[in-house]
């Protein structure tokens, strides 16, 4: 993600007599006016209004200090090295700061870089005087303009050729960090035989949500190729093969024979890096309904295309190649396909997948090696009709029965999963009063829902049966 977000990098030093000075700045003229031909026409902000934050009191040294001025955010890490005899006044104070736009949404990663750089430079200075040895003569020479904070050294550098700039390792460091981070979001700068500066801008990610045992993880990218780097985490390696969009976390832990909490943690890592999303257990007795985002799906042809590729099942070749001539396929074959696609989902759900066709082994890119001809063609229209016909109060089971003819070639589990991942479907939870009732208070207060069918007390049906068998009533519908 090269964003070129870093507007400038500069190195400020505090001199016990001459105050705070910008010794190096990239690009020239960004902080203090410069006469160099390539300098910016005007500084990004007034140096004097931020000096107290760049070189603060010792209380604030060795902390990340940011301040905003003139629509820029300056991120610095003032470092104060105290060492007797080595330095004048026994202190060496410097700040290596970057300038980004004030409104940069995610600036935490720049803070990390600045902090690391500050600490590294501190170490380098403490080891061998990396910073201070370059300064021989700089402060003596440059008496011009030193009175006013900030316009000194860089000026003379620019005009006098390359007083300090040319051979300066620190200047080169500023330049390389700026260019590399802006272009590649990372950099590796060898300092000497034993030191290398490695920096990388890591985008800030939200903390992962808790991973619960009943959730079903589904990968959003193929991790097969990444197997080796991931392998340092043993749990993760054992868990990975069982993440298929069907197994719940607890099931995975069982199958992989891993500790449940470790499994959750491993999955949480994957969530953190966005390789994985968490779903509910797929069930045909569940109810799914569209959310307000269904409009986005209907409008967006790309998503519909993606959906089509994701949900369609390969055509089955039942037995011989005979069925390959599916151009004018018979109704019976069609419905057989239908049933098998459903049953495959069902059976996978019930973990007896071994005997059925593996159409649901999830890996996003799985489909592309399958010949187009071997796949069902699904109209966008059909997808829209199907998604919009899901609603509250309608179990998936009933929905499937209602729409059997439209579902040919569609993997129902994937169909639902796709909607949930994209956020335009949600699982409707029925709320039964007894869910919250105290245990002894189990009155059969049935809501008027479809679920009534499944919860009808057996007594009733027995009664009905006996009544009908006795011939008093006509058999119940």
């Amino acid at each position: 993600m090269p964003t070129r977000a870093i507007k400038a990098i500069f190195y400020t030093r505090f001199h016990y007599e001459k105050g705070s000075r910008v010794l190096h700045q990239v690009p020239a003229g960004a902080i203090t006016p410069s006469t160099s031909p390539s300098a910016l026409p005007a500084p990004l902000f007034q140096f004097s209004s931020v000096t107290q934050y760049l070189i603060p009191t010792q209380q604030f040294c060795d902390r990340l200090i940011t301040c905003c001025v003139n629509h820029h955010r300056i991120i610095g890490y003032p470092v104060c090295i105290k060492e007797e005899k080595k330095y004048e006044r026994n202190e060496f104070i410097f700040n290596f700061a970057v300038v980004i736009s004030e409104n940069e949404a995610d600036w935490a990663c720049y803070g990390q870089v600045v902090r690391k750089l500050g600490r590294l430079l501190r170490g380098l200075e403490e080891q061998g005087g990396f910073l201070s040895k370059e300064e021989d003569g700089v402060w003596d020479d440059d008496n011009v303009g030193l009175g006013i904070g900030g316009s000194g050294i860089d000026d003379s550098m620019g005009s006098s050729g390359f007083g300090i700039g040319s051979g300066s390792k620190v200047y080169a460091l500023c330049e390389m960090v700026l260019e590399d981070l802006n272009n590649y979001a990372e950099c590796m700068i060898p300092i000497d035989d034993s030191n290398t500066i490695n920096l990388k801008l890591f985008p800030t990610r939200p903390p992962p949500p808790p991973v619960l045992a009943h959730q079903v993880p589904i990968l959003t990218m193929s991790l097969a190729g990444l197997q080796s780097p991931i392998s340092s985490d043993l749990t993760l390696n054992r868990v990975l093969p069982y993440i298929n969009g069907v197994n719940s976390i607890s099931r995975i832990a069982q199958l992989a024979d891993t500790d449940l909490s470790l499994t959750r943690r491993a999955v949480q890592h994957l969530v953190y890096y966005g390789c994985l999303v968490l779903l509910d257990i797929f069930s045909f007795s569940a109810i799914y309904a569209p959310t307000a985002e269904i409009g986005g799906f209907i409008v967006d042809d790309d998503v519909k295309g993606e959906c089509m590729r994701y949900v369609r099942t390969p055509k089955l070749r039942v037995g011989s190649a005979a069925s390959k001539t599916t151009v004018g396929r018979s109704e019976s074959e069609r419905s057989r396909d239908e049933r098998s696609s459903i049953s495959s989902s069902v059976s996978q759900h019930s973990e007896t997948a071994s005997s059925t066709i593996h159409i649901s082994d999830f890996d996003a890119g799985e489909n592309h090696d399958v010949n187009e001809d071997d796949e069902w063609h699904i109209e966008h229209e059909t997808l829209i009709t199907l998604y919009t016909s899901l609603r509250q109060g309608l179990t998936l089971k009933s929905w499937v029965l209602d729409n059997l003819d439209l579902l040919s070639g569609i993997d129902i589990r994937r169909f639902i999963t796709f909607g949930i991942i994209k956020g335009f479907l949600y699982r409707v939870h029925n709320h039964y009063p007894w869910q919250w009732a105290p245990p002894f208070d189990h009155q059969p207060a049935f809501p008027c829902t479809a679920s009534l069918v499944f919860h009808t007390p057996t007594i009733d049906s027995l009664d009905n049966k006996s009544e009908s068998s006795s011939g008093e009533y006509p058999s119940p519908p």
Partner: protein
Amino acid sequence: MAFSGTLPPASNLHAILLVTKSRSLGPRLVFHYPPLSPSAAALAAAKDPTWYRNESSTASVDSHSSDSDWDSSTEADENDDLEVGSRTSGRGSGRTGPSGSRDRLKLGIGGWGRQETIDEEDIDDNHDENGRHRGGDYDWSSVLGLKVDALEKILTPSQDYNKRRFELGVESIVFVGAPMFVREDGLWKKLRRKKKKKSELQKIEDGDLVGNLSITEEESKPEPFIYPPGFEPGYGHESLSVPGSVAPSEAGSDARSNSTAGHDDNPDMTMFNVVFVLNPPALEYQRRVKEMYDNVTRKYAKALKYEQARFQYVWKESKRIIDIKQRAKENGDSISVTWKNLLATSPLAKSIAILYDAISNNKIAHIHFDATFNTSFQIPQAMSTPYLPNALEPQMPGLWLTTSNVVLDEEEAPMTQHAALLLLEDPEILIKDLGGEASENGAAIAGLIRRIVPTKSLLKISKKHNISSHDMEYIASHLVYWRRARLIDPLSQRDTYIVSPNADMNSLPAAASNFARHFPTLPSLPKFLSLLSGTPRMYKSFIPTYEHRDIYLEVLAWLMRGGWVTQLRTFAWIRVTPEIKAQVAVEMEREERIKKAEEARKELASETGSVNASLFSDKRSSLLSDHTARPLTPMKWRRDKSADASEEMESSTILSPRITATASAHHRGSPARPASDAGSNSSQRTTIALNSAGRPDSPSHLLPHNSKVHKPSPLHLKPTSPSLNAVTSPPLPVEEDLLPQPHLFKPSLILSPQKASSVEARWLEAIGKTFEEIDHHHPRHPSYPVNNPSPPKHTDGIMGISGKELREQWPMLLRHLDGKHAIEDVAPREGLKRKRVAVLFNAVREKGWLVVVRHW
């Protein structure tokens, strides 16, 4: 990267500091609140590279700091226990009711707090070591774990920051301030300020409802006191100053005389800076800081500046506070005791404390500055969200889920007038908060508030009670802005409501007992929720008898208030069938040909006037070349002849389209066949013959052609149709091979009928025309598409509406069929009866022209 959706309210506020700079004392940290602040290190927890994660630790620190007294270590443990409790209860704690009476929202980042966070032990340890400043009650030299003198220095920026946002980050905590500097002439404001007329928005954001209301703006107040813009008092003041009472006018003159008192050529204080200490999570950083600055920091600093300008308020108070602190320090008093004393003696200290307590709890702060100046501060909260939380992105549970507040189009007239106002608290409490009924204005408003019912739109209420709709709207916006009410679609027993998927089920037990108190005779809350979580049905169907209607609607209002339910609204798109497309394609093709024929004719006429047959045919063929490339066959010649012939008998053809029909039938069997085949994939090809053939009086013509074609109806023959030029102009010689070929088209949706392209507009028109036929054709006529999933039960006069009416209302109706506007909103918008709209909508739906989806 940063969250774009609705964030739970979380001010992340941990302290407020007041810093002044004076000639006599230099930079001074005058006051900070809370007295014992968490250390900056604990807030920042700087060691962890992912700041975000630290939210959990800060949340706990936060809860300490919100307590007035937290120096006992046992209390920390209690707090931890509390958190464990909420941890098991799911995603943080939500608010039970709209009044937000629960003590604190500890939602943590994105809403899950530290629940189940795996690394939590580390954080806890960390927190226990650094998080609290032990023995800090006598530590006068540091605040937030930082040395006071260092803080004083760093928080008094240079003049460059005058009236600008001052934002200083120290690790992941940020100091946000609005520094105010004295003017060079030693004044705190210009002597003469321009009286700006307040904008509507500003008025709403002002707290003073009573004062701003125009009905009550009688000229009885000769010199109304002018608040600085944005600083009218809100409500909930316990103070004696009743807005709208006599006090303002006196105070006005008071203020006037005092404003010069602050004029001092050599003022001691040169700047002050009220600094708010936040630790927003990295991803929410920009938003949280901006919210705090715009709504609280800047406004509060301006209010202080105003007071400073009037009577040196800030500096006088600061001196007093510094003095008291100095004495306490010398006496060796503890900080907490001293702070109690400070709050009792200094209104400035008190106001900062109030501000802190309210804002850090995401509440509204009512600040009483002096007898004449009250104002309120808040960070406005989201009323509703259209988004559903998921496992990866939780959001605040209990937030009202709806799309009805989503602004679709800025230009569109807002629905405010048609919305109802759902008061979030008891009207009597609200009236009391507003200052009671003592004053005339107060009484007027009280009367009005009592009349507000959630089942009637504002428009209806204002009409019924003869209140200007403008006032009504103003009051509504005001109540909404100050979190006293919510704008909703008027509750109706004919609408459908479902349990909101965003309902806060963790607060159910508390809510259930609350519910039982309110409605002792009705079924329990869980029972209601279970009813509403089944198959969506009109609310009416849950009401047992007519007598229960009102109480059931009250229940509905109660459920709405708590975000337990949401209205299920209907959205639809128009589906264009292949038949319509084919039919329109034919029409367009025909028009094209007519145009070309016309041109050709004109050209011909202008040339010499002599009709040369061969020339004519050459012209014609070249003009037609785009869709033909057809060889000149005898057919061609004949067609030309027929063109000539038809020109002669123009009028007769109009009357009897069957002539062309027969002609076409004739060609069908002729060698012309290959020609039409050749064009079959051009998709533009159809026949008018079919049009007439499709008419019931000549159905036989249909059969020879193409039995598969679902005969779009002969719409073009309607004399009123604009596309009729086909008929009024010379009949087309070239038409015979135009065949509607629906199989070449795919059904599609019209996404925004308002902005339909020209083809789409014609489709819509064609659909509209099908409605009328219902009246004219016998039921067997297949006027709806074959693959219609829900075929009409009866074709003539569907559901009590004639096709003609439907056709007339179609252009109105289709404007709302864009999938963004709820059908429920059509009636109020268009001023129709809702029953009527329902009939219209269902009629169109029955005919299969719509893709309908229901959500909130």
